[in-house]
């Protein structure tokens, strides 16, 4: 408590003369500005200035009032105590980032502990994707919400779409990493099974003399693992999630490209699609009419 108090006093000693100086400077500015106004009027015969001097003076006065209020010992004390909490804010800010990092680190360490454990061949239930899941959870809880903050103002729609594209890209990157991880699992498992097989062959004294045999054996094991993996519902789910997230990202990206193109004198995909759709239906109608016409001509020729 004492330490905090002494910190506040030290801040005040530094802060008070500074605020007084700023107040004096700002209160002198209006006078300087009226001199400036004169010279500006001389420079521009029409009497127009880029900034309204009245508005500028009003802003400076407001700042002057504010800074003089802030140079009061009580306000300065409040501001100083605010500064004193800055380290706390910063610590909290870094804590959020660090907790995510530590979580990932913890999972990686856990995984390293499992390195010695054996993976079961031809089994892909409960796929171990913890490290990717941690990132995905962290992204969902800590980052995603910032991209979903409602946007305000004239360009809010475009900003929202832009953030949405970033979000979709991040989701796609995560699901793609997950998919690649799953796709690599048979590799990992096939080497383990190959190792077992070779051990077995050694025990039985049946080791192949031709080195190509080892390759052929490995490819066969790998193929078997892939076939088993591909039939699991986990794989199908991961594949579908990857595809869907890619398609979501593409749609969002196309939307912002369309937004950007709208300001240029060239047609967007949306414009062309509308045109193609119209053309498609017109062609169908023409074809149908041609058929009717042909039938009419036929029946007329046959006297019907």
């Amino acid at each position: 408590m004492d330490e905090k108090q002494s910190n506040t006093n030290a801040s005040m000693e530094f802060f008070q003369p500074l605020m007084t100086m700023v107040t004096q400077f700002l209160s002198g500015l209006p006078g300087m500005m009226s001199g400036q106004k004169m010279s500006d009027e001389k420079a521009t015969p029409e009497g127009h200035s880029r900034f309204s001097p009245e508005a500028l003076l009003s802003i400076i006065k407001t700042w002057g009032t504010l800074s003089s209020a802030m140079s009061e010992p009580s306000a300065a004390s409040a501001l100083a105590s605010g500064f004193a909490t800055l380290p706390d804010i910063m610590t909290k800010f870094f804590q959020t980032g660090m907790s995510g990092f530590l979580k990932i680190h913890e999972q990686t360490t856990d995984k390293l502990k499992d390195l010695g454990k054996r993976t079961e061949a031809y089994r892909f239930e409960n796929l171990d994707q913890d490290s990717i899941k941690v990132w995905s959870d962290f992204y969902d809880k800590e980052i995603r919400q910032y991209l979903k903050v409602p946007q305000l103002g004239l360009v809010r729609v475009y900003q929202e779409r832009f953030y949405q594209t970033i979000d979709k890209f991040n989701v796609f990157s995560t699901t793609f990493a997950e998919f690649m991880h799953v796709l690599m699992l048979p590799m990992e498992k096939s080497f383990m099974v190959l190792h077992d097989k070779i051990e077995e062959q050694i025990r039985e004294g049946k080791t192949p003399e031709d080195p190509h045999e080892y390759y052929r054996l490995w490819v066969k094991i790998l193929e078997g693992h892939y076939m088993t993996l591909f039939k699991t519902s986990e794989y199908t789910k991961t594949l579908n999630e990857t595809l869907s997230s890619y398609e979501d990202y593409l749609s969002a990206r196309n939307q912002i490209v369309t937004d950007a193109l709208q300001s240029l004198p060239i047609p967007t995909n949306k414009d062309l699609d509308e045109l193609y759709d119209e053309l498609y239906h017109l062609k169908k109608r023409v074809k149908d009419l041609e058929k009717v016409n042909k039938d009419l001509k036929k029946s007329a020729a046959s006297g019907g």
């Binding site: 080195p211 193929e223 039939k231």
Partner: protein, 402 residues
């Protein structure tokens, strides 16, 4: 007595040393092969484009001999919208096209072209009742025939089935090859994966279904073989000029993947893969229901025992669902592409189709019928409804008046 080592390290090392020599020698020769002139052109059999509508072209292959007196009905081959029809003419000595021409068949083939964004609204109806129907009419008019023989490949076969059900009066004989018609099967990974795909999201995002994405999906069906072993095989044989040429031809074909029009893909996935409507005669194309019982022309249904894209379970239900009495299943000992390009099946695939068509050529039959006295009471048609799912089925020749 010296104990035999458990791992023959010495022999393995000896083999490796020999291999190293071979690899060096191979690399030397491979550089000569790869840097030298290579014959890698595909689809070299001469043809002319006799009809075009939008991006869709009709190829007519120039005859290689005098027209067959056995098969006078023109044959229209309908390829899938996925990949290209060039697969049927991949290399001169393994060309289904050439084999048909050598048999004297008047051969036509649809080239679906490369759909662009403009084509994203085209549906199955536009392909079957639009392009295909116009092409059949064009051939009929050109050849002065009222019917054509129809042969479909993969998705093209599915289109042919739909077409034959909607326009039976225009099809003399129907041949379906590796054509999916029953989608409710767990035999193929594609059938499992497609059931859960959000096709609406997909088409809304892509417009048309990108060929490259589909190709990536096909590679994922067997990454060990298609992404690793295949190229290891190439490395091991890259000093062999003929092997390299054929390998590159295949690579050219595999990765030449047009996009599939979005609406067609959407309907194919939803109505076929997810709802399995076709085999139940519930599929609606345009505003017409595709009733398979209306397929009354002779049907030959060929599929591959080891097909990972259209497994037997996806193809062999068709003959049981159609209205034809003359129908046959033929299961070949091969995979989806091998059926057209493997040297082994080349010896049985095309000859079988040629013979089957020959047996059913109406004009020949009509000539025979004219020579015979017309019976007072019409003889009942021999019922030849059977299915043979054993490998390399051969059909007995006892069918007449089918």
């Amino acid at each position: 007595m010296e104990e035999k080592p458990k791992i023959p390290v010495d022999i393995i090392l000896k083999h490796l040393a020999e291999d190293a020599d071979r690899v060096q020698d191979r690399a030397q020769k491979a550089s000569e092969v790869l840097l030298g002139p290579l014959e890698t052109a595909i689809a070299t059999t001469p043809y002319e484009v006799i009809y075009q509508q939008d991006r869709v072209k009709l190829k007519h292959y120039l005859p290689m001999r005098e027209p067959s007196k056995e098969i006078t009905t023109p044959l229209l081959v309908v390829y899938a919208l996925i990949n290209r029809e060039t697969m049927l003419d991949l290399q001169p000595e393994r060309s289904v096209v050439k084999n048909f021409l050598q048999a004297g068949i008047d051969l036509y083939m649809i080239d679906w072209g490369y759909p662009s964004r403009k084509d994203k609204f085209l549906t199955i109806d536009d392909h079957v009742n639009g392009y295909m129907d116009d092409i059949v009419d064009h051939i009929s008019h050109r050849c002065k025939v009222d019917k054509v023989n129809l042969m479909g490949i993969c998705m093209g076969g599915t289109f042919c089935v739909i077409y034959s059900a909607l326009h039976p009066e225009k099809v003399r004989n129907l041949v379906t090859t590796v054509s999916p018609t029953n989608f409710d099967t767990d035999q193929g990974l594609l059938h499992i994966w497609m059931k859960n795909v959000d096709v609406d999201l997909m088409i809304n995002a892509f417009g048309n279904m990108p060929g490259d994405i589909m190709n990536f999906g096909f590679l994922l069906l067997n990454p060990a073989r298609l992404m690793i072993d295949k190229y290891v095989g190439f490395m091991e044989n890259m000093d062999n000029k003929v092997f390299v040429e054929n390998f590159i031809r295949m690579e050219k074909w595999i990765f030449d993947s047009p996009d599939v029009p979005g609406e067609t893909f959407r309907q194919f996935v939803k109505d076929c893969y997810q709802k399995n409507l076709l085999i139940q005669s519930k599929l609606v194309v345009g505003d017409k229901r595709v009733d398979l019982k209306k397929i009354t022309m002779p049907l030959l249904n060929i599929y591959g025992q080891y097909d990972h894209l259209v497994p037997p379970g996806a193809a062999d239900k068709l003959t049981g669902a159609v209205g034809s009495t003359d129908k046959e299943d033929l299961c070949l000992d091969t995979g989806h592409i091998g059926i057209y390009v493997s040297s082994k099946t080349q010896r049985e695939f095309t000859p079988k189709i040629v013979q089957w068509l020959t047996d059913r050529d109406t004009s020949k039959k009509e000539m025979k019928v004219k020579k015979q006295p017309v019976p007072k009471t019409p003889k009942k048609a021999a019922k030849v409804s059977w299915r043979n799912r054993t490998k390399n089925t051969t059909r007995s020749k006892e069918i007449t008046n089918a």
